[in-house]
Amino acid sequence: MTTPINTFILRAAGVAKQVALNGVALTILHPASFDIRRGESVAIVGASGSGKSTLLGLLAGLDLPSEGEVWLDGQALGSLDEDGRARLRGALIGFVFQSFQLLPMLTALENVMLPLELNGASDARARAQHWLERVGLAERQRHRAQQLSGGEQQRVAIARAFAVKPALLLADEPTGNLDAETGARVIELLFELNREQGTTLVLVTHDTQLAGRCGRRLQLRAGHLEIGA
């Protein structure tokens, strides 16, 4: 490969995952190799149990592959310890989850501030407020997660993800828990902000329409990766 390393935010080389289940080795993900360029938007699609979430976890360094290696911003994840990977995640990645994952005891504003504070941002509050405004929830910042609707919660999660100015945004079934109309609005927001911020977007979905909006799709079938256009 002649392209400078910096061109790729993510590189996966022969990444595979096996787990032992009741003493039987089970392959969840067969060896897969691909690169993702900065600013790209990529959809990982596949049916339930095809290994989508496993792959996402490996790309984020939430888990280590049984074989192969993942480079995040040029850093081999396998060469870092758990804390090292956590630091790298904190610096580079924003997450949006299917089940929102807001901390129930914190307000919307505090939820957005949380990763900023973990990264030692001095202007955490101002930035969090700014991003809540951007997702249209300026009025709800003092409300707790449980007092918000599903769509609102996911917008808070999006604000939280973008607030850290991530180089890479990972979204796991971001509309999975939302009705079609709300889901569509959330997706609009996600893509709009993604364009505006120039973030690399990797999203996992089984929604083909949503996948179609991405620049490229990685199709998983029973643990085998098929790389599309």
């Binding site: 787990v19 979430s53 496993t54 996402l56 976890g57 984020a60 939430l62 888990d63 758990e82 804390d83 956590a86 630091r87 790298l88 995640r89 904190g90 610096a91 990645i93 997450f95 989850f97 089940s99 994952q101 901390l103 129930p104 005891m105 914190l106 505090e110 949380l114 990763p115 504070e117 973990l118 990264n119 030692g120 449980q146 850290v164 796991d172």
Partner: protein, 830 residues
């Protein structure tokens, strides 16, 4: 990154959500309990050490069972030391209308050498320091005695053969034991009046004291000199061993209250463990999320450690405040018993209690916290197969170590620590094992039954772990309660039941030989024909089988004291008396039988005596020897006059004796006593029922103190219960919501819940009743030698109250949930 700020913000949120209150309550109770008990005992110790001279009334005291030799006093005075003497004995004192037993103390000029006497001009009037001691011809009475005799300063009373003037009410006597150690009120008189009263007769038991005070070097050198000149029946008390009886009781109180409060601390530890696990388990997702956001393991630990530390410190502070109030309650209950002016406690015991609470908190929450640190971030994406890894047993070693350290610190005795630890461990293990069997049994029953309550019973088994913890926690709490209430009451009642209704309630001592015949006439004319008068002679055991008695060879303290003192010997023409049973050898039936001794079985064992051994006594200078020809078993509970050693008449009848008798006097005939004391002023009547009442009062106070400390245990037990309920609350909430979705009516839900909780309470009640009965039986038969009566009420009340109480508490805790719309619960649970 400002972890502390984040931690505090999360803490504030958590606090409002109510999750952490259990943790705080548990620490608070443990600290409050420990602080109460320890601050109280520290105050007692401070009082003892700060006032030890005053408590002794001198710098050094020679205690003697006979008048100290003049040369001992002369030697002290030669060394420039101040001296004073006291003689202490019980005797009847009377007015024309009343007679009462008093503890008479005759003192010489100069008494007390340290501290001051305080007197008042009227009973319960304002007091002032006394100027010296009662003048010859006058006495000072304690207010209680003046009241009972209905006499005031200015009046006069009969003391032995003397008529003495009451000059003042005695309000404080520096070297007096508290209520705890005095069975009769005090009368203070001048030593110069003593011979005329005729109260000191052969056979009278009088405690003499020679008080010494002066420059400390001189006191020390006199003490060394005195050590070379001590006679038998004499010992020296220094300031360090002032009031050994208080120190003794204090030692025991410290241990027992300490152990009682440890139960609270241990239960608190269980509550801490349960709630810490529950709290941290609920934060697994939060931790996984934080890991996604780049938090390091250290960040995670710091985040939660800060929260737990802040909580711990706040709880400890509140516990210290509560403990401050608690130690005042204990001082109020027990301080008076020892007549000590308690100085305020210093900060140390409070600080120690707070630290102990924090150590417990750390020991039982940190293992869980360190497990939390390892939460896999992947959990956020895949919940399956990412169960919280159960903590290995090794993780709890920290908690166990904390508890052991606390236990050792509290009892300061390795052997006792190990005993308590293994005892509690065994009890806990047995409880858990039995609870487990019962839970399985209930599940088995559930599987074979129908209706809503079938689900309740099945739930017990489905949540077996939680159910066992809940049953065990309840069992321990209820066991403590049952022991303090039902079992204690049963034991007292059983003991009372063994006493015949006409058990003697009056003892008369100091009867002189020439009074025996007229008194027998007196008794017969007053319906007391049964009253037998026994001769009583005091003698010191000097040799066994010709070898001089070596007191130091006996390990048992009680035996040593017995040998130091004089025995009460008696003699009879025929050996057997009521309540005695021959267990070995032969008695005698005639006054002319050969000289011989009969010895009580228990004392024979203590002194390692057997049939055929020869005993030598020194009876007022006369040596007396004979062989043991029989051993007797004595029923001491009969309240009849009994003797350790009885001789054949031919051995002792020529030695002057005083006589003793006991009889039952119905309450309405108490004027018989006044008549008797008036006719024979030297007699001392001991009112057993009054003494029993005093003992009962003291026992009540001590029990109240122990019960007070058990309040902390009970509170801890409730917190454990709450924590155990809270730990399964989420699961129950989800289950309830699902039931509702599936169409269960509230009534059905209620039946299932009540069944489950009531079964837990019932099983705990059953186990607690079984435990309490077993302990009650063991105490009855092994310790107190009482017949044990099965008490069905114990079982009924334990199981009834247990099931009703737990059902109520449990259903109340879930009330909100079953009223909530199921969807809200289900959505929150996703």
């Amino acid at each position: 990154m400002n972890i502390v700020r984040l931690a505090l913000r999360m803490l504030a949120r958590e606090w409002r959500a109510g999750e952490l209150r259990v943790l705080v309550l548990a620490v608070l109770i443990a600290v409050a309990g420990l602080a109460s008990v320890n601050a109280f005992t520290v105050r007692m110790h401070l009082a003892l050490s700060q006032e030890s001279n005053r408590l002794l009334g001198a710098d050094m005291v020679l205690v003697s069972d006979h008048v100290p030799a003049a040369r001992l006093i002369a030697e002290a005075q030669r060394r420039g030391l101040a001296t004073a003497q006291t003689a202490l004995f019980p005797s009847m004192v009377s007015t024309p209308q009343q007679s009462r037993l008093a503890e008479i103390k005759a003192v010489s000029n100069g008494y007390p050498l340290r501290g001051t006497l305080r007197i008042a001009d009227a009973a319960f009037g304002a007091d002032h320091p006394a100027d010296g001691i009662p003048r010859p011809g006058s006495v000072w009475l304690e207010a209680r005695l003046a009241n009972e005799l209905q006499v005031a300063p200015g009046g006069s009373i009969q003391v032995g053969y003397s008529q003495l003037k009451v000059a003042a009410i005695l309000t404080n006597e520096p070297d007096r034991g508290g209520d705890f150690f005095n069975l009769a009120p005090r009368l203070l008189m001048n030593q110069a009046d003593l011979p005329a009263t005729g109260l000191i007769q052969p056979g009278s038991r009088v405690g003499y004291r020679l008080l010494i005070a002066g420059e400390s070097k001189a006191v020390e050198s006199y003490r060394n000199w005195l050590a070379q000149h001590l006679e038998r029946g004499q010992r020296v008390l220094g300031v360090r061993d002032a009031r050994p009886e208080i120190r003794n009781v204090l030692d025991k109180a410290e241990r027992y209250l300490g152990l009682a409060v440890l139960l609270a601390a241990m239960l608190a530890a269980v509550a801490i463990l349960l709630s810490a696990r529950h709290f941290l388990r609920r934060h697994l997702d939060a931790c996984a999320l934080l890991r996604c956001f780049g938090a390091s393991q250290r960040n995670i630990v710091a985040l939660y450690a800060v929260q737990i530390a802040v909580l711990g410190v706040l709880a400890a502070l509140a516990g210290v405040a509560l403990g401050y109030a608690g130690q005042m309650v204990l001082a109020g209950l027990l301080g008076k018993l020892a007549n000590l002016v308690l100085p305020p406690a210093n900060g140390l015991p409070f600080l120690q209690a707070a630290l102990a609470g924090l150590v417990l908190l750390a020991g039982f929450s940190l293992p869980t916290l360190f497990a939390l640190r390892r939460t896999p971030a992947l959990r956020i994406l895949r919940r399956d197969g990412m169960a919280f890894d159960a903590l290995g047993a090794a993780s709890y070693l920290a908690g166990l170590a904390a508890l052991t350290a606390l236990l050792f610190w509290q009892v300061r005795d390795t052997r006792l620590t190990l005993m308590v630890l293994s005892g509690m461990g065994a009890t806990l293990l047995l409880t858990v094992l039995l609870a487990w069997l019962l839970v399985l049994g209930a599940g088995w029953l559930g599987a074979r039954s129908r209706g809503s309550w079938r689900q309740g019973l099945l739930n017990l088994r489905r949540r077996a772990g939680g159910s066992v913890i809940q049953v065990s926690a309840f069992t321990l709490g209820m066991l403590a309660l049952l022991l303090l209430t039902v079992v204690r009451g049963d034991l007292l009642n059983n003991w009372r039941a063994t006493l015949p209704a006409d058990a003697p309630n009056r003892f008369v001592i100091n009867i002189q030989p020439d009074q025996v015949a007229p008194l027998q006439v007196f008794f017969r004319s007053h319906g007391q024909a049964e009253a037998t008068l026994y001769p009583m002679i005091r003698g010191r055991l000097t040799a066994i089988n010709g070898h001089a008695v070596n007191v130091a060879a006996y390990a048992d303290q009680q035996t040593r004291r017995l040998l130091e003192r004089e025995f009460n010997l008696s003699y009879a023409d025929r050996l057997m008396q009521q309540g005695n049973q021959l267990v070995a050898g032969y008695g005698w039936n005639s006054a002319n039988a050969a000289p011989q001794f009969s010895v009580e079985q228990g004392i024979a064992e203590k002194l390692h005596l057997k049939l055929g051994d020869s005993l030598s006594f020194d009876v007022g200078g006369t040596p007396v020897s004979a062989h043991i020809t029989s051993l007797r078993k004595v029923n001491w509970d009969s309240f009849r006059v009994n003797f350790f050693v009885i001789a054949n008449s031919s051995l002792l009848k020529n030695i002057s004796a005083s006589y003793i008798t006991s009889f039952y006097l119905p309450a309405q005939q108490s004027d018989v006593l006044n008549e008797m004391v008036k006719a024979y002023p030297n007699l001392t009547v001991i009112d057993v029922s009054a003494i029993m009442k005093t003992v009962q009062d003291m026992l009540d106070r001590v029990t109240a103190a122990v019960q007070f400390v058990f309040i902390f245990s009970l509170a801890s037990g409730l917190v454990v219960l709450y924590a155990a309920l809270a730990a399964t609350r989420d699961e129950r909430a989800l289950e309830t919501a699902l039931w509702r979705v599936l169409g269960a009516r509230r009534g059905q839900l209620l039946v299932a819940q009540v069944t489950e909780f009531a079964a837990i309470g019932l099983l705990a009640g059953l186990l607690a009743a079984a435990g309490a009965s077993a302990i009650g039986w063991a105490l009855s038969s092994e310790v107190f030698n009482l017949p044990y009566h099965f008490n069905p009420m114990l079982w009924i009340s334990a199981m009834g109250l247990g099931s009703a109480g737990v059902a109520l508490a449990g259903v109340a805790g879930l009330w909100g949930i079953s009223r909530e719309a199921p969807l809200a619960t289900l959505r929150a649970a996703v």
